[in-house]
Amino acid sequence: MKGRDGLICLVEEIHGSEEKQKQWQKEGKLVQNPSLVAELLCRQSASASASASEQVQKNKEVESMNPKPNTEISIPEADTRPEGERMLRAATQHGFDAFEWAAKERGSVYHSLSLRSRVGFSRLQRQKLKKMQIEGIVTQQPTMGSLKRKSPEEPSTSSSLPLHDCVHHVSYPPGYTHPSSPPTQTHAEPAKKFPFTLDPFQSQAITCLENGESVMVSAHTSAGKTVVASYAIAMSLRDGQRVIYTSPIKALSNQKYREFKEEFSDVGLMTGDVTIDPNASCLVMTTEIWRSMQYKGSEITREVAWIVFDEVHYMRDRERGVVWEESIVLSPKNSRFVFLSATVPNAKEFADWVAKVHKQPCHVVYTDYRPTPLQHYIFPSGGDGLYLVVDDKGKFREDSFQKSLNALVPTTEGDKKKENGKRQKGLIMGRVGEESDIFKMVKMIIQRQYDPVILFSFSKRECELLAMQMAKMDLNGDQEKDNIEQIFNSAMDMLSDDDKKLPQARYFLNSVSNMLPLLKRGIGVHHSGLLPILKEVIEILFQEGLIKCLFATETFSIGLNMPAKTVVFTNVRKFDGDKFRWISSGEYIQMSGRAGRRGIDDRGICILMVDEKMEPSTAKNMVKGAADSLNSAFHLSYNTILNQMRCEDGDPEKLIRNSFFQFQADRAIPDLEKQIKLLEKERESIVIEEENSLKDYFNLLEQHRSLNKEVRDIVLSPRHCLPFLQPGRLVSLDCTSSDEDLTPVFIEDQLTWGLVINFERVKSVSDDDASVKPEDASYNVDVLTRCVVKKDKIGKKSIKIVPLKEVGEPLVVSVPISQVNTISSLRLFIPKDLLPLEARENTLKKVLETLSRFGEKGLPLLDPEEDMKIQSNSYKKASRRIEALESLFEKHEIAKSPLIKQKLKVFQRKQELTAKIKSIKKTLRSSTTLAFKDELKARKRVLRRLGYATSDNVVELKGKVACEISSADELTLTELMFNGVFKDIKVEEMVSLLSCFVWQEKIHDGAKPREELDLLFMQLQDTARRVAQLQLECKVEIDVESFVKSFRPDIMEAVYAWAKGSKFYEIMEITQVFEGSLIRAIRRLEEVLQQLIAAAKSIGETQLEAKFEEAVSMIKRDIVFAASLYL
């Protein structure tokens, strides 16, 4: 194995360079910037590694001992594939693609798919299948061969793979001196050998691990970060240390547990739901569990040498991100970390923070590399083809991008009226006599053999609706169908007979019996509303390649490697709690990362279905934009504060000081200070004579201006001006000023004239039109005037209105009413057809003519009082004051100064600088003080007032109870408990009441629960209101009503019935929620109950404790707590 040796050599070489580096550092202060040196060295070693890996590649080729499992030799439709490819290539050359044509040529039904036999089985699944086989479930295995499908670390078959760079930094804590002697334990033998050549970033990261230093790996999902994690595990096991692997999601933990268990065997799992072998050396857990372990001081914290944080970019999650931050801060100081993250631009900053908090060097290994390059296409809705916008070299294609957007415009405008408010109509229903877009899309994908495909949409319902449209399609052959059925049925055997039927499930797909036919046709749905078991079966089937077309929500984009060849975005907007927004480039990167299977596809395909007017820059940003940076979402919770206060060394302030939030704030300080200095210098350099009187004059001008604006606002309010905005009306407009941030106050605004063509109401996205009165809505006026159209580099068209006499095109532009300056009393005749350029040019000429006729005086304007009949008091007042001001101007001496204009300009500049300095100083002040200082104070006040802690920060009895509760609102729940609410009610009622704490989804017309439950709920609301009110009094920022409303009674009835012992299908009849959501809620409820048991124990209330325990036993049964298939 020459390759093996090469790798070792490489590792040693890197070792060597590391040592050299240390040597340098020891020798003197020559090296000012250690990280720079490291970077340089890294480059050196990276190039070394590159050559080494090349060597390895060559060796392999010579020896040809690598069976290259992924070359598509055995695929029967190998002949058809190139055709598809060719077509695509041809199409992309033209920038657009007529797939319809292709469809006709090749016949529309796709048969050959069924012949596919490239069903590879990963070890995991093979094992599973074996188990099933033993149990007599699966009788015949599909061709297994050596074909491996799911294996991210597979060597790429294409030897022409471009060697990619990775960036390597090291962050040293301030004042850190590198240990003088080299690490004692250099193992010649790596802890784990991989059957393939490591990518540079992988070997780089592993070198860091071997040196016993923390590392942050930032790379795309598909790049193979898991290699680093599994090496860390192997290394810890070798050294007899414990290692912890945390992931953000329970399901992911389950999967990872399975994966590691196969490999290392000494692996345990801890999630809120299950605990398996907690004494194992390698523990897989959710981050929440790890945090609570640290609070409680588990012995594991003293044995863990390595902690792997997977998907650490979750730290920016608004709600849960703080868990990561706390876990990292609280982690034992002697342990080392492996952070795996999606690409984040500020990985270095993160590493600096870790280095500072833990006083240890932290490496950053960053790579942009994708093993399979991506091509991005746009599919305009209602359009008929794909447009390649980013090719696999990462080049953005301006021309075809424009074309795609042009293809979109007519369709949206044509149906604007019809589709009002139902944007998705075209997507789902399709126009009469046509297939829906999504159907066309899938058909095309199948024809081109771009499958398997994942289609992302942003709502569970949409996801299902789209899947239902595929009902006509059949993508699987008989054998595959059999396999699916067997796998499916054997999985479902875990369920009881009642659950298996789930006959009247509200959602078609969730009824177990209805799902199968769809799956058998190769179509799947994956979202959080599914039964967990169904979700897992679908995941398994997808990994097996038995599902060709998967409709999924965003949740599918994180976690285990489940790539497809193609990813489709059925929508480009998502609802994020309170409004629709464009998906961010970071989200786009994450989701598109699912495209392209390493070693199988030579490139991944990413299709964006654009279905509404989209700013080109938005689209470009989305497709080409940078990854989201990792920003702290730190916030304080009472549970955190109490847990910190409770322990002798703990101090919430210390936690805040160590938080990433504080770190980021502190970092900005030097920069801000520099800014202030610069600005102050600039301000001082401006010297003005007679500054005081100038200031006076300036203020007068300001006043005059604001009054004028006031008047204008009144005159131009839609109520007043709409009747006069007939076509042909001459209006004056503000020219679009060139630099928008600096509008000189003193210069008369540049005005131009134009003709009104039409006006229309601006549609606001969120509120429905009926609720807004016509007077209150905002309007846009279409005006014919002279414009300059410019295109900037990204292809964003910017239209600038210029004075009539200047060079430009006559165009009809839509401007908001506020941009209209005055309305004249004249109307001109406009020709019927304005489309030809001459017609417009002529009309503008007429306007010019009219203007010149009136000459100096200017056009007669509509008189607000006489013509427009404006009689509001505010108008009269304002106009009187304007008159008064104007007379003051006359008297002002400085007005006569010849240089007044320049002077004013300078003065304004000075004013602006002052304002800027002030605002920067403010931010500076807020960042120098401890972040959250006031909030911490306020929250401590709350805790004191409620009797949770004393003024000496000693936690009292109630505080100890609240310490135990981390899965629900700790204050409200503790108050409820101490008010004896749980004491006298029945267990079912109690469970039902507790369900309000764990249910967060909003349901619009949820039925009210029955009276006794409603009564309880009202009690809860009262308590919550009291708690919120108190917090408000203590100056915690909180919206009382929305806090109260955050407790939702929607699933009370269902949970009540569940606790009563109803079957799952019975409770699904009661409520309208998704099965999966309900199951998750009940599982979380059990978590809360467990915490309550601990709480009751700590106050010595045995009866209550018994009651909670009974509650647990009542809800913990059947399908809701069915074990994961991965376990």
Binding site: R242, H358, M645, C647, N953, N979
Partner: protein
């Protein structure tokens, strides 16, 4: 006289009596009528649910005290706080214990609770600061860390299936050397934010264990465990050097002055214990200062005169505190 056993002269007796009366009048009387003895029924409003906490039981529909003590109420929760009892551990308490037994992977510690507490080997930081699983060898070497009768400081971690568990979160927990262990009734030590104290002016460490075990010893520089460990972990030579110097230090005597201060502080605690006053840092400091200003010898601190004086001072302090409020 609350059972204070001191050989008092007549005047001292009168003075003490007076002081105690004064103290009593100063104490808040909120709960004075709530003291119960066993089987007393506790008046509660049964209409809206009552939570029966520690020291209570249900007897024929009545809430009955199972302890002698004071009834405490928090919202709807009713519990009895025992006046004098053994130590009752709570999670997060700082306790001091004496090693009773070295057992399988654990030490058993006497912490004045009704059962021995367990300190697992894995709940201790390894002396070399390395994070790793404990091996059989570590188990054999357990006596290198703690032997029987060593005095150990730890934090209460919680009740596990096999008893009360302790843990040592950081380096400041662990074996206590060169000092005195005093035992006082646990109720005299109130829970506070800080239980570790360093009396800088005397070079003395004071640890007020919640279990009524109080440690007064020579000050040991709190090592910044992070930096220290880094050195020790990466450089065995430094480690060796360190341990050598530790041994050296061990041989070194604690200097006489500090030993005197240790005794003084210990006697201050003893005085407070005899008088039955709460033991806090502030009061201990006050007593030491008092004894120094009076130029008392250490042994004289335990005399009746000084006790009475301390009681008077305390009464003075409390009343002035009260006035301030």
């Amino acid at each position: 006289m609350r059972g204070i056993q001191l050989p008092l002269s007549k005047t001292q007796k009168v003075r003490l009596q007076k002081t105690l009366e004064q103290l009593e009048s100063l104490s808040s009387k909120v709960n004075s009528d709530a003291s119960v003895i066993i089987a007393d029924s506790i008046p509660v409003n049964h209409e809206d649910g009552v939570l029966k906490g520690h020291g209570t039981a249900d007897l024929n529909g009545e809430v009955v005290a199972t302890l002698c003590g004071v009834v405490e109420r928090v919202n709807k929760l009713v519990y009895v706080r025992a006046l004098r009892s053994r130590y009752k551990p709570e999670v997060g308490d700082i306790v001091i214990g004496r090693v009773a037994e070295v057992a399988q992977k654990r030490w058993r510690l006497d912490i004045n609770f009704n059962q021995d507490a367990v300190l697992m080997l894995s709940s201790m930081n390894m002396p070399d600061g390395v994070q790793r699983r404990r091996t059989a060898l570590d188990e054999l070497n357990m006596r290198c860390i703690f032997e029987e009768n060593d005095v150990v400081c730890a934090e209460v971690r919680g009740f596990q299936h096999d008893g009360l568990h302790l843990q040592a979160r950081s380096r400041k927990y662990g074996k206590l050397n060169r000092g005195q262990l005093l035992t006082v009734p646990p109720y005299l030590v109130k829970r506070q934010k800080q239980h570790f104290h360093h009396l800088e002016e005397f070079g003395v460490d004071l640890i007020l264990g919640c279990n009524g075990f109080i440690w007064v010893g020579e000050h040991i520089e709190a090592k910044d465990d992070m930096v220290e460990d880094q050195v020790s972990q990466s450089d065995p030579q430094v480690l060796l050097h360190n341990s050598a110097s530790l041994e050296e230090q061990e041989k070194n005597y604690t200097i006489l002055d500090i030993r005197k201060y240790i005794c003084r502080a210990a006697n201050a605690v003893r005085v407070l214990s005899v008088l039955g006053f709460n033991i806090t840092l502030e009061i201990i400091k006050g007593i030491i200062d008092l004894s120094l200003s009076m130029n008392l010898d250490i042994h004289e601190m335990l005399g009746s005169e000084f006790c009475v004086l301390v009681a008077e001072k305390e009464a003075e302090r409390r009343s002035s505190n009260k006035k301030k409020r």
